[in-house]
């Protein structure tokens, strides 16, 4: 007992050597996977189809029962806990949304509170709060039916429904996969803003590396044969891919993608203090991404940026320095 690994107190989700072997299949869908996901962390599982990422996700709320290994949620071993009460404490969002078509939007959102025995008036109030939270006016939408909503609106309701009982953990299986690219980007942005407010522990599956890089605090890249190839921050995955598989999967253009992940403050140390008097520079906040800074420079045809630094004063970076600094992983990851 004592030699088995236990989750650290910071871990919200802890997978201890979980495996899934489907009967009649030669290879395990997931084998001996261990992962620790911290409280309030947004982790994205990404990889080619058949790599076991969805199976992994579905083992967390035991829609797929692991063949071996243990699952901990919030420090408790839930490998053999009652599934229905386990799932009521975990938000779940799927690509096909799956709203109950015969219930109103409010009743859909209040589904889990209803199963938990929350009183009707409280349930309704909660549903309205959540609709508000995901940007749908309850006065307009609470009484409507799923069929009357667009795909993007339905997915918002799906997120609201998952949040209804205020679960600490949310599992999302390609939640933005079924909507068109413009709506998807909007939903992603809104969801990131939402996450900064609600700070849930989120595990999300996607096959889209761009989505993963954009949303995840950390990304788990799954390789063929359900191998966890790398589990790290987006910047680290772009800068120091663990192996050729990760490098290939991330694809070309990693240095350019890094621009949206790096902050100006990350590269400010390569700047010079002296500013050429003649140069046309524009002020940029240190918290902006390098990508945004470049945009501003290009848009105003400036030659560089001026960044205010802690303790007063400002630093100067010309376009060339900015690009070189951003292209050098070692410099940033010190």
């Amino acid at each position: 007992m004592s030699d088995r690994p236990a989750p650290s107190p910071d871990a919200m989700i802890f997978l201890d050597g979980v495996s899934k072997q489907y009967p009649g299949q030669a290879k395990a869908a997931v084998s001996e996977l261990s992962m620790e996901i911290g409280r309030g962390e947004f982790v994205v599982l990404v990889g080619p189809s058949g790599c076991g990422k969805t199976t992994t996700l579905r083992m967390i709320n035991r829609l797929v029962e692991p063949t071996r290994g243990r699952i901990f949620i919030d420090g408790k071993d839930v490998t053999h806990a009652d599934v229905d009460s386990l799932r009521r404490g975990i938000g779940y969002v799927i690509q096909q949304i799956g709203l109950l078509p015969h219930l109103t939007i409010a009743d859909n959102v209040a589904l889990v509170p209803k199963m938990l025995g929350t009183k009707k008036s409280e349930r309704h109030q909660r549903a309205e709060e959540l609709l508000e939270l995901v940007g749908l006016d309850p006065a307009v939408y609470a009484g409507r039916y799923p069929k009357q909503l667009s795909g993007g609106q339905q997915q918002r309701v799906g997120v609201a429904r998952a949040l209804a009982a205020d679960p600490p953990v949310m599992l999302m299986d390609e939640p933005f996969g079924a909507v068109d690219p413009i709506v998807r980007e909007k939903l992603q942005t809104e969801f990131l803003q939402l996450q900064t407010r609600i700070r849930k522990t989120i595990v999300m599956v996607t096959h889209d590396i761009d989505e993963a890089l954009r949303l995840g605090d950390r990304i788990a890249v799954f390789g063929p044969g359900s191998r966890l190839a790398q589990f790290d921050t987006p910047l680290e995955i772009l800068s120091n891919p663990a192996d050729d598989f990760v490098r290939d999967f991330v694809g070309s253009g990693a240095p350019v993608r890094r621009l949206s992940l790096l902050k100006v403050s990350d590269v400010v140390e390569s700047s010079s203090a002296d500013m050429p008097g003649t140069a046309n520079v524009i002020p940029v906040d240190a918290t902006e991404t390098v990508h945004r800074a470049l945009e501003l420079v290009l848009a105003s045809r400036a030659e560089g940026i001026r960044v205010g630094v802690a303790g007063g004063g400002s630093r100067y970076l010309d376009l060339q320095t900015l690009l070189i600094a951003a292209a050098q992983p070692t410099k940033v990851l010190s």
Binding site: D84, L100, H102, M115, K147, Q148, R161
Partner: protein, 216 residues
Amino acid sequence: MKLVAYMTDNADLLLFLTEQHIELVLVSVGISAVIGIGLALLTQSAPRLRHALLSLTGTLLTIPSFALFALMIPLLGLGVAPTIVALAVYGIFPILRNTVTGIEGVDPAVIEAARGLGMGAGRRMRTVVLPLAWPVILNGIRTATIMLVATAAIGAVVHGPGLGQEIFRGLERIGGANALEEALSGVIGVVLVALILDLLFIGIAKITALRGLNVR
């Protein structure tokens, strides 16, 4: 018109037989529904058994009704009991078939979402699957009902109740006084019963329709 005269003269009898006919059909179809829906639910996790039952109940339907009624005599004698049993047997297939189709037609994503949110199997069946499958199930019951209205008339061969008595009495002494009128008024009654029950089902379908599925 001799027919009209016959029917007005015997209005009480015809009305009584019509009522009997409706009751007979509704009781039989009620039993079919309990068995048909019940079998569909019980075989939820046994698809092969379900298939076998569909084949079996489908095959029962091919037994000529005249023969099935007659086959009931050694088991149940004459009268109401064999009539109801035979009719209930006929009614199972359309209801079982439609219940299975209805359940299988529920969007798997809806079931997956309900399951993922912690809705147990029983509650899922009661509050999600059955309500969504209901229109299809109801249609199966309706088909069974209309089918049984016609078949019930044959029940008269085992002295079953209903309008069949009138038809068979007429046919037995065809050429005799009022024989044709008897048979015809029985047939007209059967057609009217079918119409009335069909309207009843349209009404039930309207009343039980799920608003969410029909909004625009």
